[in-house]
């Protein structure tokens, strides 16, 4: 008697997972608690442990392949056969993949349970699913809430198509004549999808301002000893910057908005996304309720998030819900650049390097540590004058951080 190990669902929006490593081979025995395979979703990888003992009899989904949640990835021969695994294999998963029916589970994060097990779908959605040989329940897992309609199934199928073209050995895969092909990671796919979607969705406009960063640098220098002693973390310019931007946003609530079909939502809390480069990609960890946090708290939280992100262990929910983002490439010496809005936010601030620059002050040329800030804003919501007012406040507060207390 064998039971199927399914691709689990972690987090509300997970639709598929890519198997990055099989820790067990066919013929290996597994015991509860042992890691069977590792998969990655969007930007994070997870270890999957066995929840029952048995022998791996077949690996269905190989390393590097991406499959929808609920897909059988391997079969486990179950000597005790106490559970009814045949049933698990035969019955299509309804909604989330219940942890108890899956002989493997994700360590640390059990799949959230969902109420109803009956999939609501229009007859047309069901037919399209059937014609394409997919289980409507798999689509259900990706679009909870209203009944499944044609567009839900079609977007699910579109996802499958994308996956098929990037699957190993696929005929549709482009083969570069000369050069080296790097296969798409889940993270790269997410980045690509989000960036393109953002440029299609929002009316992005840009505004650049030069600010004198002298006082900001001073402030940080003076704060370092106390915060480092208190927390063990050195506050970065980005930490200070995140706090200061939040102060400016508080004075210009239109920057903290979201476009919806019904209208523009002015959000109460500011959750700051901090775009962070990794060796092979990009993540945007979120400092929630930044307006209420002290610099020391921000520094500790940012440090912790980025450490987790670099080791691929940042939980998806810590990369969600930001209401405004900042992106800094100053450390690479980049003077100025423009960033793409992190949907569904209304703005993102691109922070350039601090560079000693000759500027005119009181009729004389002086050398000042200047920095260029580029605001990308969604012109559907924010008009040029509103964006300019925000930028002016931002300039004031960066040039005189004490104003943040005013």
């Amino acid at each position: 008697m064998s039971s199927a190990i399914l691709m689990p669902k972690v987090g509300l929006t997970m639709t598929e997972g890519k198997i990055v490593e099989w820790r067990k081979a066919v013929g290996d025995r597994v015991e509860p608690g042992e890691i069977v395979f590792v998969f990655e979703t969007e930007k994070v990888s997870f270890d999957v442990e066995a929840t029952q003992s048995g022998k791996v009899s077949r690996i269905i989904v190989g390393e590097g392949e991406t499959v929808a949640i609920g897909t059988e990835v391997a079969l486990l021969d179950d000597a005790s056969a106490a559970a009814a695994p045949a049933q698990v294999a035969a019955a299509p998963p309804q909604g989330d993949v219940p942890a108890k029916d899956n002989p493997a589970s994700v360590r640390a994060e059990p799949a959230p349970a969902r109420g109803s097990s009956k999939t609501r779908a229009t007859p047309l959605a069901r037919r399209i699913a059937k014609v394409n040989g997919i289980d409507i329940a798999q689509v259900a897992a990706t679009s909870p809430g209203t009944p499944l309609k044609k567009r839900d199934v079609e977007s699910y199928l579109a996802g499958l198509a994308v996956r098929t073209t990037s699957a190993p050995g696929s005929a549709a895969m482009p083969t570069p004549a000369d050069g080296r092909l790097v296969k798409l990671t889940s993270m790269r796919e997410v980045i690509a999808r989000k960036m393109v979607a953002s440029t299609v969705e929002a009316a992005q406009a840009y505004m650049v301002v030069s600010v004198d960063a002298g006082n900001l640098v001073d402030a940080r220098t003076r704060l370092i000893p106390s915060i480092e002693k208190q927390t063990g973390v050195r506050p970065t310019l980005t930490d200070l910057f995140a706090k200061i931007v939040a102060v400016a946003i508080e004075r210009h609530p239109v920057m903290n908005t979201r476009w919806t079909k019904e209208g523009i939502v002015f959000l109460d809390a500011i959750h700051m996304g901090i775009a962070t480069a990794l060796d092979d990609g990009l993540v945007v960890p979120v400092i929630g309720n930044i307006g209420t946090k002290k610099l020391a708290e921000i520094a500790v939280e940012r440090h912790d998030l980025i450490e987790k992100a670099r080791s691929g262990k940042l939980p998806p929910e810590r990369m969600k819900g930001s209401t405004f983002s900042i992106s800094s490439l100053g450390m690479f010496g980049v003077e100025e650049f423009s960033a793409i809005i992190n949907q569904p936010e209304s703005g993102i601030l691109a922070v350039g390097a601090i560079i000693d620059t000759p500027v005119a002050r009181d009729g004389a040329v002086v050398i000042r540590p200047m920095m260029k800030l580029t605001l990308t804003y969604d012109h559907r919501i924010i008009d040029g004058a509103k964006a300019a007012a925000f930028v002016a406040t931002l300039k004031d507060v960066v040039e005189e951080p004490l104003l943040a207390l005013a």
């Binding site: 229009t122 007859p123 047309l124 069901r126 037919r127 209203t146 009944p147 309609k149 044609k150």
Partner: protein
């Protein structure tokens, strides 16, 4: 093509058919010298004489029975019943006799007659002069039922009805009598049993008839401004029903709203909804919604509030689009 009023188009059809075929005769109350209660038979008495245009007493059952006998003997009577609300008075003749003649006589007799009757509300004519009873008649095998929405269809369907070898009930809409539209001059036939796609669209199909065609087209304009592309099908004939036109449209749009002026319960909308569910449920991406009048007699004082209108249709379409 000339701009003609709906009632004038009917009058034109009668003139043309009486000129074409001397077996076409007119029977009804006030159809002679007064030219009909709404002017449909105006000028016919003068043009064709009192042998072919018969004024009758107020006796709907006798009028329709007379027409049946005349039809069985080879004439092609066109009866005017002053209000469709009076059709129940002659229901036995229509349902038990006229509709069954061809079947009862094994095809040796037919009943090639036309009953014209104005239905519908909109003129504050009260509960006994404003009903939409088409579903009753569409339920009877042996009767054909048509409901023109435009002057051109009023002419073309009436001419086809007169030439049809089976009894045809032409339910005109009294609130449309004064409406105008282009009507082809001379010979113009609209086939019975063929619907008309009055507006093409890809998101949702509205199947409608009679006065509600105008409301549906108005609703379609409103919805177009929201980016919702509506297809409007004017049934024109209720029986036989152009099933293929409905199926083709729903196949394309996957969403269906049916709009009629009659009481929603047990109406034409219920029939079409059931038919589509039976034949093609797997193309539907939202529930089928009906727009119709509430389950109440047509009120005299609050007719406007009672009648389904374009806003009701817009709401129904939005509901299926947002399902």
């Amino acid at each position: 093509m000339t701009e003609t009023r709906y009632i004038k188009a009917i009058n034109e059809a009668l003139h043309e058919e009486m000129t074409r075929d001397e077996n076409v005769v007119i029977i009804g109350e006030d159809v002679g010298a007064p030219g009909g209660a709404f002017g449909g038979t105006r000028g016919l008495l003068q043009a064709f004489g009192d042998k072919r245009v018969k004024d009758t007493p107020i006796s709907e059952s006798a009028i329709v029975g007379l027409a049946l006998g005349a039809a069985m003997k080879g004439l092609r009577p066109v009866v005017e019943v002053m209000f469709a609300d009076f059709l129940p008075v002659c229901m036995d003749q229509i349902v038990n006799q006229i509709a069954k003649t061809r079947f009862m006589f094994g095809g040796q007799f037919a009943a090639p007659l036309v009953i014209r009757a104005p239905g519908g509300a909109g003129l504050n004519a009260g509960p006994q002069h404003s009903q939409s009873l088409e579903a009753w008649f569409a339920h009877i095998p042996g009767l054909k039922v048509v409901m023109p929405a435009t002057p051109a269809d009023a002419k073309g369907l009436l001419k086809s009805a007169i030439r049809d070898n089976d009894p045809v009930l032409v339910l005109e809409h009294k609130a449309l009598y004064a409406s105008s539209g282009d009507v082809p001059a001379g010979e113009y036939l609209v086939p019975i049993g063929k619907a008309d796609v009055r507006r093409t669209g890809k998101h949702v199909t509205i199947v409608t008839l009679s006065r509600m065609v105008l409301d549906s087209l108005e609703a379609a304009e409103t919805l177009a401004a929201q980016g919702i592309d509506v297809e409007v099908i004017d049934l024109r004939s209720i029986s036989p029903l152009d099933r293929q036109a409905i199926f083709s449209s729903v196949e394309k749009t996957s969403r269906l709203v049916i709009a009629h002026e009659a009481v929603k319960s047990f109406g034409i909308g219920a029939e079409i909804s059931a038919m589509v569910s039976e034949e093609m449920i797997d193309v539907l991406d939202a529930p089928i919604l009906r727009v119709g009048a509430p389950f109440s007699p047509v009120p005299f004082s609050q007719e406007r509030e009672y009648l389904p209108n374009a806003a009701d249709i817009v709401r129904a379409v939005e509901k299926v689009m947002n399902y």
